[in-house]
Amino acid sequence: MSDAILEMRGIRKTFPGVVALDHVNLTVRAGEIHAIVGENGAGKSTLMKVLSGVYPHGSYSGDIEYEGSVRAFRDIRDSEALGIIIIHQELALVPQLSIAENLFLGNEPSSLGVIDWELAQRRTRELLAKVGLNESPETLVTNLGVGKQQLVEIAKALCKNVKLLILDEPTASLNESDSDALLELLLDLQRQGIASILISHKLNEISRVADAITVLRDGNTVYSFDCRGEPISENLVIEQMVGREMAERYPPRTPDIGDTIFEVRDWRVFHPQHAEREVVKGINLHARRGEVVGIAGLMGAGRTELAMSIFGRSYGQKISGTVLKNGQPIDTGSVSQAIRHGIAYVTEDRKGLGLVLEEDIKTNVSLANLAGVSKNQVIDDALEYQVADGFRQQLRIRCSGVLQKVLHLSGGNQQKVVIAKWLFSKPDVLILDEPSRGIDVGAKYEIYSIINELAAAGKCIIMISSEMPELLGMCDRIYVMNEGAFAAELTAAEATQEKIMRAIVNHGDKHGH
């Protein structure tokens, strides 16, 4: 294709133990809006990092041909110099600086090191007019909403003479009118000859603006649609996104399900900083003894927020709703109360929220139940050691001994330490948030086995996961969550990846459009 501005051919990128991208091809024609879709972890962000030079030439294999010649970007400056600008999901603006200061950060118009603020102001006004943002250049970025911050980011890209603009989930945190404005701007830029790559989950938006769609799945390009001629079928895209076979990756289990022991009614949570933003919107959930209940959804759907707000109000404000255990309302207002009522929460952020990395395995295991290893507030060293060593054997935590620091353990073994910590708090209800994230296949299987055994032992498991096959392979029932509410509830028998994805997409269309 001679009119291609960008061609990525046979891209392969590996991380220790994981192949993130394999044989990925992507062709973007000059002046088109090219959408990239795929599940979480399909490799979209990794691909963009390869393109922008975050992963330098040499750390991947394959060719990047841009504007007719093969390029070898060493870092993000190299790609920016040629007009490839990436706007990440987490915006890279300095909140306490003004719009003008942000636009020219690292690129200040100056002579002899003295910044020419008049010039900067004038150019800022021009750029803001281009993106349709009616704000003074002096305004601090922190005072702008997320939608306007996006526009500032785009203005910043224009300021760097962008030719290929990459947007990673730009509308994920925007409301409807801001999203519309952003998409209009993209079309406007297209008319000025600027090509864009748009990473998004929202198929309605994609069908509105995209000229072509590339689907990534498990690090491979599985399909490329050209949709300039005729509109695409959403069904086809969804099929391509999820259509993978489920092999024997999940240990077998015969469910033995008892009475409902855990129930949450009309649970509402608001954002901790933005009191007007409702993050969890009236969730009703129940789980039975011996049952593995899944919560599916995309990142940002509010699943972690739901779990953490239930677990001792560890997230959000203005929380309302009832938690019941064995039919009785219980107070889970603090973490210690939640633990006392037999609830445990295994966080998705193992290192940030789950472990004290500088401490050893023994200390981490006993942390949530120090009373269980102490008498009159004095810790019984030997008992604590035995407890930790018992878990080490049971969960097969591979280490040189329980006095080893958890910092040096592999991801899978760290996860086992976190699970051991919560098992020692003797819970009846275990909420597992992305329990298999960032661990290798073998360790995943072991974690799944542990989950099955816990269910068989009569615990009630609530499992949050972004990996649909994992939920389908493990759960007896799946809630599909989207934008703070449950979009569907599916039993193991009826659940398929297509149904889950369709529930998310339809729900998103209904609410986001």
Partner: protein, 414 residues
């Protein structure tokens, strides 16, 4: 241990895991002297540095350093730094800092002087009032730090100014003293001697020997317990070597002190406090929580620990110990002056960092802080005897602090 262990065991779990596909093996079991030394280099290194520094000054001062009189002075001069270092270590481990302790020392001394000298309150009552006041001061600052989330650096910087000012106000710019004899004994007194001996205070020597024996028994019993439960422990050689050094050091020092006036009261207070804080930090639930909060506050909170309360307690404790130090310092000078306590916070904080505490919290040992304080004290004392001016003393102390922390960072990144 014959009893069955209830750890929420899941029957059949280990078996089902054994059927799981194997994954690549993790680090092989390695338990030898080399790896143990590597993991514990910091502690042994500290002790070794102290010994080397003492040896150096012993040599440079032609033996003056270890003379009984000088040793007694060394203890008296550094007691309040060591006592405050115990509290400061807890504050630093919890992830905070307390800059106000020097001013609090001055303020408590002034309060004691005003109560005892001007208002003729009995010195025991006055001391108790001072201790309560110290705890309240710590609590007030801790309240802002823990519950209002104001950085401790700022809160205690404010406290430093406030209490420096209040000291001046309380004393009206004058020195107030002297204290009654009973109060002075806190600092200048020695353990009473029950035996009549001309050159040796036998009681003090006996106390030292008994302390060494108690330590021996406790250590050996702990070791036996570890062996009984087949827990990992430090290699035999290190254990016995360390034990021998400590026992010999305690007995030798008590002998040296006994050949002068005996064990100072302050040393007894200090030793008891050190033992208590070692126990709290290593063996109690509270101590464990302090380390967890400093190590990863969010993980601690999600494990059911009330992190604010833990931070608050460390400040209350710091205030209390600063009050103890304030009383000792006032008793030692036998007067309360507006200048008392100026700059103490720097020595105390330096002792903790030389002793291996991490500025980001979660890491640090009581014994390390004590050794750190002794290193600073021995250097002060040794350099003074050698006639090095206060100017270069400061320079050298600053460089030692920097070097100690550099070694830490280097070890960590390796």
């Amino acid at each position: 241990m014959g009893t069955k262990l209830d750890i929420g065991a899941i029957p059949g779990l280990a078996e089902s895991l054994r059927n799981a596909p194997p994954d690549e093996a993790d680090a092989p079991e390695a338990k030898n002297y080399g790896s143990f030394l590597k993991n514990n280099m910091r502690e042994y290194g500290m002790l070794l540095s102290l010994i080397v520094i003492m040896g150096f000054f012993e040599f440079m001062t032609d033996g003056t350093l270890m003379e009984p009189l000088n040793l007694t002075n060394l203890v008296l001069q550094n007691s309040y730094v060591i006592i405050m270092a115990l509290g400061m270590l807890m504050v630093i481990v919890a992830g905070h800092i307390d800059l106000s302790v020097g001013s609090v020392v001055g303020f408590i001394g002034a309060l004691a002087a005003v109560l005892i000298v001007n208002f003729h309150v009995h010195y025991v009552t006055a001391s108790l009032i001072c201790l309560v006041a110290g705890a309240l001061i710590g609590g007030a600052q801790g309240y802002f730090v823990a519950f209002f989330k104001i950085p401790s650096f700022i809160v205690t910087l404010a406290g430093m100014l406030v209490f420096k000012g209040l000291t001046l106000a309380l004393l009206e710019g004058q020195s107030v003293g002297p204290f009654p004899d009973g109060f002075q004994l806190l600092s200048s007194g020695f353990l009473p001697d029950a035996f009549e001996h001309d050159t040796l205070r036998v009681t003090s020597l006996l106390v030292g020997v008994i302390a060494a024996c108690v330590m021996l028994v406790v250590q050996l019993r702990g070791r036996a317990k570890q062996a009984r439960h087949s827990m990992e422990s430090e290699p035999h050689g290190f254990f016995l070597g360390k034990l021998a050094v400590f026992t010999a050091a305690i007995i030798y020092f008590s002998y040296l002190l006994a050949s002068y006036k005996g064990i100072p009261n302050v040393l007894a207070v200090m030793a008891v406090l050190i033992v208590i804080y070692m126990f709290i930090s290593k063996r109690t639930v509270l101590g464990r929580r302090v380390y967890a909060v400093g190590g990863n506050e969010k993980a601690a909170r999600l494990s059911g620990i009330r992190t604010e309360r833990v931070s608050f307690y460390t400040f209350v404790n710091m205030g209390l110990l600063a009050a103890v130090a304030g009383l000792i310092f006032a008793a030692r000078l036998n007067t309360a002056t507006p200048k008392a306590g100026v700059g103490f916070e720097l020595d105390v904080i330096a002792a903790c960092f030389i002793g291996g505490a991490s500025a980001s919290g979660g890491v640090g040992k009581v014994m390390g802080a004590v050794i750190g304080a002794f290193i600073m004290g021995v250097m002060n004392n040794g350099m003074s005897i050698m006639g090095i001016g206060i100017d270069y003393q400061q320079v050298i102390k600053g460089l030692v602090l920097l070097a100690a922390v550099c070694v830490d960072v280097f070890n960590k990144n390796k």
